[in-house]
Symmetry: C2
Subunit: 379 residues, 2 copies
């Protein structure tokens, strides 16, 4: 049986968890949390990294830091995970859904400007499959209208954007803030888990406070204030050291993990491309984007073909899965949406299918999956 | 050196974490999450238990389930952790602070009725040190005024209340909802971690939805709906299976842990009582409460004596710590409070001190600490 996902243990996770217990500190913001955060800051150029219990929670921190007030508008793609929306809605935002490109699930940057109003507080590009959105255009718009850019980089660890100026920058380091996920399906994992990245100095001090339940504990331990107490709103956004220790074992192996995943991705791409089928669209990586091999997906012709495709592979013990459903059509939002058709988002909702993808998937497995798909299409 | 706290590893935590990885599922709501939740429901009589990433998050779920709207009032003690307040404030509540008893940090149930208005939506008794609040009086008030009771049972696992009717019920099973903590300082731990307990059927279905990011995923997997999607607000409240597996190893040893902790508590109580000092007040366990040996605290005469006490013990490498600061006097809330004096809360803020307390603290250690305190007072 080839499952869709299989979490990968590098082998040191439990050793580091035991070490964390030995230090006498397994609540949040201990040794392993700091090690992870330092790595992310140094490696990807974030001004500040704060681990979170989930990407959802990191997005909630963004919404609080952006000072979203009831009625403020936030522009997000409709083809995304529900967390992109609920984190801002919880702060009272009205979410304005944007469409995807026709050949790429990312938010169509050309369609954003028409959605900006005087209430627009933030644009939230989601780097689908770890592939960069058109950040040059998005940052230009944000600067023009004085809007924040919050990158939903849930899938985008170790992926880059190459700007018009030739600068290659890590996703999550470009907007004012960004949120990452370490959910078990991601490249590096801690089961559930996430990270807030901050690139604008204005938000760093408050981020530390809301992370620690609205207290100035971080400043106190740095000796910047002489007692610590309740100074702001906040939540318990920081994860256990058990989670951070697990994540550290993954981070140590990130180069190996990424190399392995890129080989899997390339084998899929080559295999499906050689089928030369007009019924299957391959993923598109724009010139301004790199590929972090987070996911391998195909776009089929329609929902019926996709259902047959999934059922056929499942009957051969291979488990592909579809992905998001357009959020503007959800039970929760359909009566709140302004009625615009978002045809590309709907197309990906109906037609996109993700193939099994995990560290331990062998190239032989990939060949077997590609062969199964070839036989299905030749029937 | 005798620290204030030392997290305890029962020995099976990492084995269960490895097992969770082998099942192919380390995101939330997997095998270990269900095992933990089943244990809590069966053992303590909650109608529904849902693990959470923290007690703060469990309290936030309570605030959402209570349908707190901006301007609604929630009555909580001032002598509590900041999370009791911020979870409700995040939903827009106005927090009304109540005072403690003079001889017990718990909310003074006799002082609650005078704080109830037409805007009061909930009373949040905090079972300080795991010792029950006067739940008979609180439930009567709630019934009389149609108000919800949300137990902040952060410290109160495996502790009980004996009602006027003679019924002995677990803390957290009495109010409409309750929140527990498994922070590293608690009796059973997962570093950071918490649990929502629900005792009123009306809230169970929605709790599962807001727990899973506003989706009806739980109903879908039970076959109750034929597709799952976005139906409500919510967040990612559920912890990683890594956390649940860790917690399961603790739960398996809860009887041993509780016996050990009660012996430590009794040794402290006996030792300090024998000092027969008029300068030290011992903890009071009301007749309607049991003792879960979460914490051993003393109440001294004033803040100067407490500072000398702490400094003296620290100079002998023993690390006691004080606890909360009255929330109504915090930087965040002092201008929002209605000006009432809460003298008992302030007294505990100034005078309460917690002694080292953890599983591996030996009875010899306790005797050494008691001797050090005796020498300090005899000087």
């Amino acid at each position: 049986m080839i499952p869709f996902n299989k979490p990968y243990l590098t082998g040191k996770e439990t050793q580091y968890i035991e070490d964390a217990v030995k230090t006498g500190k397994i609540s949040g913001n201990g040794k392993y949390t700091k090690m992870c955060q330092d790595f992310f800051e140094q490696h990807y150029g974030f001004k500040k990294s704060l681990l979170a219990t989930s990407c959802t929670d990191a997005l909630e921190m963004c919404a609080i830091l952006a000072d979203i007030q009831p009625g403020d508008e936030v522009i997000i793609p409709s083809y995304t995970f529900v967390s992109t929306a609920i984190a801002f809605i919880r702060q009272g935002a009205k979410v304005i859904f944007a469409d995807s490109y026709s050949n790429n699930p990312n938010i169509d940057a050309e369609k954003i400007e028409g959605l900006i109003t005087t209430r627009t507080k933030a644009i939230v590009p989601v780097h689908y499959a770890g592939v960069a959105c058109d950040m040059d255009t998005i940052i230009e718009l944000a600067d023009k209208y004085g809007i924040l850019v919050i990158e939903d980089a849930a899938q985008a660890i170790d992926s880059y954007h190459i700007g018009k100026d030739g600068r290659k920058r890590a996703l999550g380091s470009i907007g004012h803030m960004a949120a990452f996920s370490f959910h078990e399906t991601k490249n590096i994992i801690s089961g559930e888990g996430g990270m807030l990245a901050i690139n604008d100095d204005r938000f760093i001090q408050r981020a530390e406070i809301i992370w620690e339940k609205g207290t100035n504990r971080a400043e106190f331990f740095r000796g910047e204030v002489n007692k610590y107490g309740w100074v702001d709103i906040g939540s318990s956004f920081l994860p256990s050291e058990v989670i951070a220790a697990f994540l550290w074992a993954q981070i140590e192996n990130i180069n190996d993990i990424q190399e392995k995943r890129k080989n899997i991705w390339d084998a899929y791409y080559k295999g499906i491309k050689e089928m030369n089928s007009s019924l299957i669209s391959l993923p598109v990586i724009p010139d301004y984007a790199t590929n972090n091999a987070h996911m391998f997906y195909l776009v089929l012709q329609n929902i019926d073909q996709r259902t047959q495709f999934i059922n056929n592979l499942k009957s051969k013990d291979i488990h592909p899965v579809f992905h998001y459903l357009s959020l503007h059509k959800s039970d929760y939002y359909k009566n709140k949406h302004d009625g615009r058709e978002l045809v590309c988002s709907d197309k990906f909702s109906d037609c996109l299918v993700r193939l099994p993808f995990y560290y331990e998937l062998s190239i032989d497995d990939v060949h077997q999956i590609v062969n199964t798909i070839t036989i299905f299409y030749n029937k």
